[in-house]
């Protein structure tokens, strides 16, 4: 637990020290403005909830992709990975603490987007299903952290990690239906969307902001948790492989 807490605190300090870490906190409200403008111009105020949910996912995904996913790679470049691996504290716990810190910081974007809607567009944003909303937010943050664990392992092992990172934003926004529901995608691509946890999360979050019943809410929430858990499991395997390899070769920084 101490390693987890130390990682969490370290990452919070890192976020405060580097302006790059706050990029999504600038872009999320801007994307909210763009989406709200589109729906306002089209006279579709009924889609306000859609415009507010998408920027939050963009911010969270960005944090997972460009901050949390890089924690191990950056340690390698800073030549501190060897020290971290050699330390008696748990390596996985420290990494997890850092990833959770980044993911938790994403909650700020919820507040920003709500303020944009309220102050700039005078939109009333009501959470019609608060329990479902709260449960979905927690499950989404956990699933996002799970995804980041996978990415952090992949980025260490992949030569073209930077290229992948730069390219893996909008393809997942489309597949995940973060703004336009998956049902608007071609039939052949929809099964692929269902293995992306974003599609379940986005549907649920939109549903919790709208009046009317949300069908199969707990089943869909379970899918978010399941896919997030799969991410953690996959990430754990990848990190174990990374550690095993660096300990066997003794060449941590040049893995």
């Amino acid at each position: 637990m101490r390693a987890f807490t130390a990682g969490f605190r370290l990452q919070l300090r890192t976020i405060g020290a580097y302006p790059d870490a706050v990029i999504p906190f600038f872009t999320a409200p801007m994307f909210a403005i763009i989406f709200l403008l589109i729906f306002d111009h089209a006279g579709r105020e009924d889609l306000t909830a859609y415009a507010l949910v998408a920027p939050v996912f963009i911010a969270l995904w960005w944090l997972a992709l460009f901050q949390a996913g890089w924690v191990i790679s950056i340690d390698r470049w800073n030549e501190v990975l060897e020290l971290l691996v050699a330390a008696p504290g748990g390596f996985a716990q420290a990494v997890l603490g850092r990833i959770v810190a980044v993911t938790a910081a994403g909650v700020v974007s919820f507040v920003e987007v709500w303020l944009v809607a309220r102050l700039l567009f005078s939109a009333s944003v009501e959470i019609h299903h608060p329990w479902l909303f709260g449960a979905t937010v927690v499950a989404t943050l956990a699933a996002m952290a799970g995804t980041a664990v996978v990415l952090s392992g992949l980025f260490v092992l992949t030569r073209n990690a930077a290229t992948f990172g730069n390219s893996a934003s909008f393809p997942f926004y489309v597949l995940g239906g973060i703004l336009v529901p998956v049902s608007f995608l071609p039939d052949w691509i929809q099964p692929l969307s269902r293995v992306v946890f974003l599609s379940w999360s986005a549907d649920l979050l939109r549903g919790s902001l709208l009046p009317g019943p949300v069908d199969d809410a707990w089943l869909r929430l379970a899918m978010v948790v399941l896919l997030g858990a799969a991410g953690f499991a996959g990430g754990h395997l990848l990190l174990s492989y990374v550690l095993q390899r660096v300990r066997a070769t003794g060449d941590v920084a040049r893995l």
Partner: protein
């Protein structure tokens, strides 16, 4: 050797150096399956909003706007070149050389603008038909030089920004991302600029992309030549204005850095 010939040589070598950088960063495979897929997805993401609104006109507006803005937003990535020079430790050598740094930097990132223009045109050509857009030939060919004009105007703007943050390397990523999303919000990409409050509409007129995009929309909608040429002229004027500001201020920013020794050491 005249000054013009010497400058032309610097321009040629800077462009060649930039292009080589580009091909180190991207292979054909990673460009096609990474970058192109990302951009096509981005344009699809916005075009799908039009489909959700059940409006072919909105779909067309969003698709064209978000494809064309790629030419502008890619040019903004050129800001990264300046901070990259600092990271490589070559910025001070460039500044110490007799060639004007503004000429080197303006030329060095031109490949980024060229890449953006090509990507934007490919997005229009590939994603457009997927959403039932048809382009009127041969007048649609006019979109090619208009997109190039947008790329160059945005590139001039980004060169100015590069000078502005030369000594603030830590802000590079924030400035790049903030500029891109601001261009998407303000330049008539997703809603017509007339929908904005007056001050924002005026701001949009001063930014690259806005007028070039209006010209492209008019071209594809069969608008009259005067409107197309007028807006193309305005895009050219905006680009020329930003280039002038960039060339005027770049030396000054470098000078500040030389005086206080901050080019290499400030964050």
């Amino acid at each position: 050797m005249t000054a013009a010939v010497a400058t032309a040589r610097v321009v040629r070598q800077a462009i060649a150096c930039g292009a080589r950088d580009h091909f180190e960063l991207w292979t054909v495979k990673s460009w096609v399956f990474g970058w192109l897929v990302r951009v096509f997805s981005q344009v699809t993401f916005f075009a799908l909003i039009g489909r959700m609104l059940e409006s072919p006109a909105q779909t067309e507006f969003l698709l064209i706007g978000n494809a064309v803005v790629v030419a502008g937003s890619s040019a903004v990535f050129a800001i990264n070149n300046t901070t990259a020079e600092r990271a490589y430790g070559t910025l001070t050598l460039l500044v110490a050389s007799p060639s004007p740094p503004a000429v080197v930097f303006t030329s060095r990132g031109l490949y980024v603008a060229a890449d953006g223009v090509l990507t934007a045109l490919l997005a229009l050509a590939v994603v457009g038909p997927l959403f039932d857009l048809s382009y009127p030939f041969p007048r649609a060919l006019l979109v090619i030089p208009l997109t190039a004009l947008i790329g160059l105007a945005a590139y001039a703007f980004s060169t100015f920004l590069a000078g502005l943050i030369l000594r603030k390397r830590e802000a590079n990523g924030l400035v790049v991302n903030a500029t891109i999303v601001s261009l998407m919000a303000l330049c008539g990409v997703n809603v017509p600029i007339q929908f904005f409050p007056a001050p924002l509409e005026w701001l949009a007129h001063c930014l690259p992309v806005t007028h070039g995009l209006i010209a492209i929309r008019a071209t594809l909608a069969g608008g009259d030549a005067a409107a197309i040429l007028g807006n193309a002229g305005l895009e050219l004027a905006v680009g020329a204005a930003w280039l002038t500001i960039a060339l005027t201020t770049f030396g000054r920013f470098i000078g500040h850095g030389r005086r206080d020794g901050s080019l290499d050491f400030a964050s």
